[in-house]
């Protein structure tokens, strides 16, 4: 069985975002990590392999920098890495199209994605890829059970969890709570150095969505400190009532 896991490599969540003079995201000084949600995807792929056997392929689409993310996945225990290489901008549809083609070539029928990249916050690539592959898909999954062809999962919704039933082939997009991602061991890191990352050049079809410009959010004026003990509560309640009009 071939298990695929699609991963993105994104600016660390502690990054301060600045813009360049021509209103693009200033990438200088940003440090990158595996997209936090994709760590759950990698962990679940590893667990799935532990249960059913097989081989795991980590796939990332983008420039050479994405290789660092793949290397980290290999160090966690993923077997093979594939970089779908391109420069410039591809919209999620374009990326999904290329991921779908690669997954089809591999023939994997269990595919993991993170629920969302924490850079552009689209949260759509896994679902798009599933549709393009004509695979079933359960998104934002916090619990997963695969028995033969049958898949039962829990997905997070407002105010609770939905229990969803589906069948293979399937794309799962992972949410915090599903598992605890393992750390790479020294042995894993050593072993990963011997693994080669296959590079495949991809080309873009026309983008359905394009970015016109970026802005920074309005900065708030610093607020008022009302005091340092319970005597400030009166003033707070008054402001919430008269100024904010919340109570």
């Amino acid at each position: 069985m071939k298990i695929a896991v699609c991963i993105n490599y994104v600016p660390d969540t502690a990054s301060k975002i600045k813009l360049t003079d021509d209103n693009r995201i200033d990438e200088n000084g940003l440090s990158y990590v595996i997209n936090p949600f994709d760590e759950f995807a990698i962990e679940e792929a590893l667990k799935t392999k532990e249960k059913f056997g097989g081989e795991i392929f980590a796939i990332s689409a983008g420039n050479d920098a994405k290789k660092e993310g793949i290397k980290k996945a290999l160090a966690m225990g993923v077997d093979n890495g594939i970089l779908l290489k391109y420069d410039g901008y591809m919209d999620p549809f374009n990326i999904a199209d290329n991921l779908a083609a690669q997954i089809k070539t591999l023939g994997s029928n269990i595919v993991f994605f993170g629920r969302q990249s924490v850079d552009y916050d689209n949260g759509i690539t896994g679902l798009l890829t599933a549709e393009l592959l004509n695979y079933n898909c359960i998104s934002i999954v916090t619990k997963l059970d695969i028995q033969g062809n049958e898949v039962t999962a829990e997905r997070e919704i407002e105010g609770g969890k939905e229990v969803v039933k589906s069948t293979l082939p399937i794309v799962i997009t992972t949410q915090k709570g599903l598992n605890e991602p393992r750390y790479a061991t020294l042995k894993g890191i050593m072993a990963s150095k011997k693994k080669v990352i296959e590079e495949i050049n991809i080309t873009s079809v026309s983008n359905l969505v394009e970015n016109v410009s970026y802005k920074l959010p309005k900065v708030k004026n610093p607020g008022r400190i009302l005091g340092s003990d319970a005597s400030a509560v009166n003033e707070l309640v008054k402001l919430l009532r008269d100024e904010a009009k919340i109570i």
């Binding site: 924490v118 549709e131 919704i157 589906s166 969505v209 970026y214 607020g223 319970a230 509560v233 009166n234």
Partner: protein, 321 residues
């Protein structure tokens, strides 16, 4: 004239959700700026609160009804919506950016080869283009995007579009839908013990490590109860197992923009601020005057949560009596 804009309403237990009314507001904006008609579609098993759609400005609703469709089924819902939209020769589909909209919008976009933008907070219409704003990096920046494809799917961030009543007569068409494709299907919902979810709340009381122990969260819960608010949490206390994942606010938790956010014993790490700094009013209670949470707070108290929360709770309770 056929509607070019289709709003997908969301029901839970056959009741249309409030966020769907906000999506109607977005449709009204599109309709007025593009000179299009809009209509709505809902899938369920007999909607019980159709009256909330009166005087929203909506004039046509198609209700697809089937006992298997009360609980969400992506495979079935997708097919119904795509077929309905094709019949209309529509151009734009709008969803609320909820777990439902987020799941369904990209599936539909893929079927229609439509560009899809999620979590939109604003639209600008100039030179015949629709320019959509969406927060990225959890609100640390804003991206302005254009969809190049003729068909377009958007999900609208909740709590952004204000509901404005508009007199209107509503026509409801009921379609009994037979033999839906139930390949992927919700079989049950496990409700979290009737608590309000941070993603839907208008007021959120959040607690962090400053509360010192899971038991002390009772202070946060009591204040939340007084306000009729949801309880939120920082990642530190979620990772410690004090609170469930569903309450985590921040870049890797939920992004929220309630009318009021009260942060209790939360330092205000950049990942936390990312998820809540667009709240309308922010109150911070933290004994460290240098805590970064004060940089986004409208009102701050630089004191001890154990002293302040009980007093605040008492005063709110008194006011509400």
């Amino acid at each position: 004239m056929n509607s070019k804009i289709l709003v997908i309403l969301e029901q839970r237990e056959n009741k249309i959700k409030k966020s769907s009314l906000e999506t109607i507001e977005a449709a009204k904006l599109f309709a007025s700026r593009l000179n299009y008609n809009f209509e709505a579609l809902v899938i369920g098993n007999g909607i019980e609160n159709l009256d909330i759609l009166q005087n929203t400005g909506l004039s046509t609703l198609t209700e697809y009804k089937n006992s298997d469709l009360e609980l969400y089924s992506p495979s079935a819902y997708k097919k119904i919506i795509v077929e309905h939209f094709n019949k209309l020769s529509g151009e734009i589909i709008l969803f609320a950016n909820t777990s439902f909209g987020k799941d369904l919008a990209p599936r539909i976009a893929a079927s229609l080869k439509a560009g899809c933008i999620t979590d939109c907070t604003n639209f600008d219409f100039s030179d015949g283009n629709i320019i959509c704003s969406k927060p990225i990096f959890a609100g640390k920046a804003i991206s302005e995007l254009k969809v190049n494809s003729p068909l377009k799917v958007f999900t609208i961030r909740t709590n952004v579009f204000k509901i404005v009543p508009a007199e209107c007569k509503l026509d409801i068409i009921t379609e009994h839908f037979e033999a839906p494709d139930l390949t992927t299907k919700v079989i049950e919902i496990n409700k979290q013990d009737s608590k309000l979810d941070v993603a839907e709340a208008d007021i959120i009381i959040s607690g962090g490590r400053g509360l010192k122990s899971p038991e002390n969260f009772a202070l946060v819960e009591k204040l939340a109860q007084a306000f009729g608010a949801a309880v939120g949490a920082s990642r530190a206390v979620v990772d410690a197992g004090w609170r469930p994942h569903s309450e985590q606010v921040g870049q890797t938790g939920k992004t929220v923009s309630p009318s009021l956010y009260i942060a209790c014993g939360i330092s205000g790490a950049i990942q936390h601020l990312a998820g809540m700094s667009s709240s309308k009013y922010i109150v911070a209670i933290n004994k460290d005057a240098d805590a970064p949470i004060f940089s986004v707070a409208d009102y701050g108290i630089t004191g001890d949560v154990f002293e302040i929360l009980p007093v605040l709770t008492e005063q709110i309770n008194k006011l509400k009596q």
